[in-house]
């Protein structure tokens, strides 16, 4: 046996040992309870799954898989071990899983004339409703997808297209009440990429379901830019009694009319109207800032994620600089309490997971590292749980996988 043959055999052995090792690490990755998405300082994004987020250390690079393609942290819809997303360039809707140490696409379907998801809703275990605005045709559209068979039914959403000086629109929330679909939206005027503004009215279309016909249009001028892209960050919820709350976000990261207030509005289940007597003005509260993310804790309490003026300079560094605070809100008394957490970074993150009334908050701080923080509203305790090891730049998603 020549030295070259020996070297080749040794390298082959080493290669298969490494591959074998990686596979055994990942063989049951898609059946774990939680999914984490992290952006590393070297620019690579990794997904890692785990059964516990209350304690321990996990290294996304060593124990996880490379996100493929990269930078999909705002696009994922996660359910029953699967990751769903729409490719904005191709309009292909796909299902992927983590298996054999890879983020693998299982199946996909092309959705014609649909290239951006602004909101999604699970209608049943296998049926997903996607809603988005398609700039080329200037239409808001919906697509109903059976994710088992990857069959699609799609059409224009019955809401008015941009009119007058408006040339764009955003859809910020979608909520099924009985046999009706409520869709929150607003309009924009854009000028040569350099700026845009948002209508001073926020709209909610009441649409009969499954007929998909508009039956009513609700308007409110107390604030604007209702909700946000819910695959990127949550900003609305339904409480125990079925009342629906949503955050309106006119700050520079979304509505770009900061003179309006960030605030919470309510649609009572019984009324099917935006409650004219309820407005939780976040900007005028002790928080004194704009916010973009809202999560329900239960028992009339919620968590809001708000920016901190003076720490960032503008849109250019909004996502890079740690400046986000988390506040616990009492929705009825309209009180606020800041959580003693390190300032968080990343403009939009799927970063709060509430289970059994306990909040798990994914924080990445340049000073104190990246970790899940656990907040118990019953005794107001706050402690560090699972920590991310490695050179983490952003802790972008924390969610239930199964």
């Amino acid at each position: 046996m020549t030295p070259r043959t020996i070297l080749l055999l040794s390298l082959s052995f080493l290669f298969f040992s490494i591959v074998g090792c990686k596979q055994s690490n990942h063989e049951d990755a898609s059946s774990k309870k939680y999914s984490i998405y992290a952006g590393l300082k070297n620019g690579q994004d990794f997904l890692v799954t785990t059964d516990t987020i209350d304690s321990g250390i996990i290294d996304p690079e060593k124990q996880g898989v490379l996100a493929d393609p990269q930078r999909i942290f705002h696009d994922l819809i996660v359910r029953d071990g699967h990751y769903y997303r729409l490719d904005q360039r191709t309009g292909m809707f796909s299902e992927s899983t983590i298996s054999d140490g890879l983020f693998k696409e299982n199946k996909s379907v092309k959705i014609e004339g649909f290239n951006d998801i602004e909101n999604y809703n699970w209608i049943s275990k296998d049926t997903l409703m996607l809603i988005g605005y398609e700039e080329k045709s200037k239409k808001a559209r919906y697509a109903k997808i059976n994710v088992q068979h990857m069959s699609v039914v799609q059409n224009e959403l019955p809401i008015p297209r941009p009119f007058g000086n408006y040339n764009w629109m955003s859809i910020g929330f979608s909520k099924f009440f009985d046999n009706k679909l409520f869709v929150g939206y607003c309009y924009h005027s854009t000028t040569n990429l350099h700026s845009y503004t948002t209508s001073d009215t926020l709209y909610t279309e009441v649409i009969s379901y499954p007929e998909m016909k508009s039956v009513n249009r609700l308007k409110d001028t107390r604030t604007t830019y209702p909700g946000g892209i819910n695959s990127a960050m949550e900003s609305f919820f339904t409480d125990e009694s079925g009342d629906f709350y949503f955050l309106a976000c006119p700050g520079i990261a979304t509505g770009n009319v900061p003179e309006k207030s960030t605030g919470i509005l309510r649609i009572k289940k019984a009324d099917n109207q935006i409650d004219p007597d309820y407005f939780f003005n976040i900007s005028a509260s002790p928080i004194q800032n704009h916010g973009y993310g809202l999560w329900y804790l239960g028992k009339g309490r919620a968590i809001v994620r708000t920016e901190r003026k003076g720490v960032f300079t503008g849109v250019n560094d909004h996502w890079k600089v740690p400046h986000f605070d988390y506040y616990v809100l009492d929705l009825i008394k309209q009180t606020t309490r800041r959580l003693e957490l390190p300032l968080d970074k990343g403009t939009r993150k799927q970063c709060v997971l509430v289970e059994n009334g306990i909040a798990h908050i994914a924080i990445n701080s340049d000073k104190e590292g990246s970790a899940v923080w656990i907040y118990n509203p019953e005794n107001e305790s706050l402690k560090k749980g699972l920590q991310l090891a490695g050179e983490i730049n952003y802790f972008l998603r924390l969610e239930r996988l199964n």
Partner: protein, 228 residues
């Protein structure tokens, strides 16, 4: 084999093998050849110019007496054999092409200027160091010797090799914002002058992967504009 300065000198001295001669001539005539032109630093330029001028003056002085001695009648084309004329013409042609290309290369490489006055369409240009897509109503000036980019509007840059630039949004004055950025080969970078109610004349510079962190309306507009 690479065309080196030594090889060119050998060529001019007539000491090249036929194979080497062919290679040098092909290189001289090839517009597409990858050349890495390193422009002298601005501070060195004056010294360099003075040195060249001094050399030239010396050459002219040494040439002057000879010039006066050449009479019109003694410089007759008829007295030169045809083959010598053909070689001279070929040499002039090759040298001319070489000088023309060098000049072009130098002017493109040193300062690159592009303006797009269209209302709707981008202007796309491929240079030796990068490709540029300039949005409507935008302009850009790149000084390759200093690595300074001045732009106004919106531009997408895709470098052909790793490169460092100092980017300045010229219409972002008066507080003259500058940002030094290391651009990686093959990646798309976007520079944009942006106005928000809280921060007028802001300069946004990001790698394509960070687009998703911008306000969704801006992200979608940039994706549409630059077809990414």
């Amino acid at each position: 084999m690479k065309v080196t300065r030594e090889l060119i000198e050998k060529y001019h001295a007539g000491k090249c093998t036929p194979e080497e001669m062919l290679m040098v001539e092909e290189w001289l005539l090839d517009d597409e050849a990858e050349e890495e032109f390193i422009a002298p630093k601005a501070t060195d330029r004056k010294t360099l110019r003075d040195a060249i001028w001094e050399d030239l003056q010396a050459e002219i002085k040494s040439f002057e007496p000879e010039k006066t001695s050449i009479s019109k009648s003694s410089f007759s084309v008829r007295s030169i054999p045809f083959w010598k004329l053909a070689v001279a013409a070929a040499a002039v042609f090759i040298l001319g092409t070489f000088l023309y290309n060098s000049k072009q290369q130098a002017s493109v490489d040193e300062v690159f200027v592009l303006k797009n006055s269209s209302d709707t369409t981008n202007k796309n240009v491929s240079e030796s160091l990068y490709t540029i897509s300039l949005a409507p109503k935008s302009n850009i000036e790149i000084d390759n010797s200093t690595g300074n980019i001045d732009f106004c509007g919106a531009v997408l840059i895709n470098p052909k090799r790793d490169i460092e630039f100092t980017i300045q949004g010229t219409c972002a004055a008066p507080d003259e914002q500058k940002e030094k950025l290391f651009l990686k080969k093959g990646q798309n970078y976007i520079a944009l002058n942006y106005n928000s109610p809280e921060n007028e004349n802001e300069m946004i510079i990001l790698e394509e992967g960070s687009l998703t962190s911008l306000p969704p309306v801006v992200k979608r507009q940039l994706m549409e504009q630059f077809n990414i």
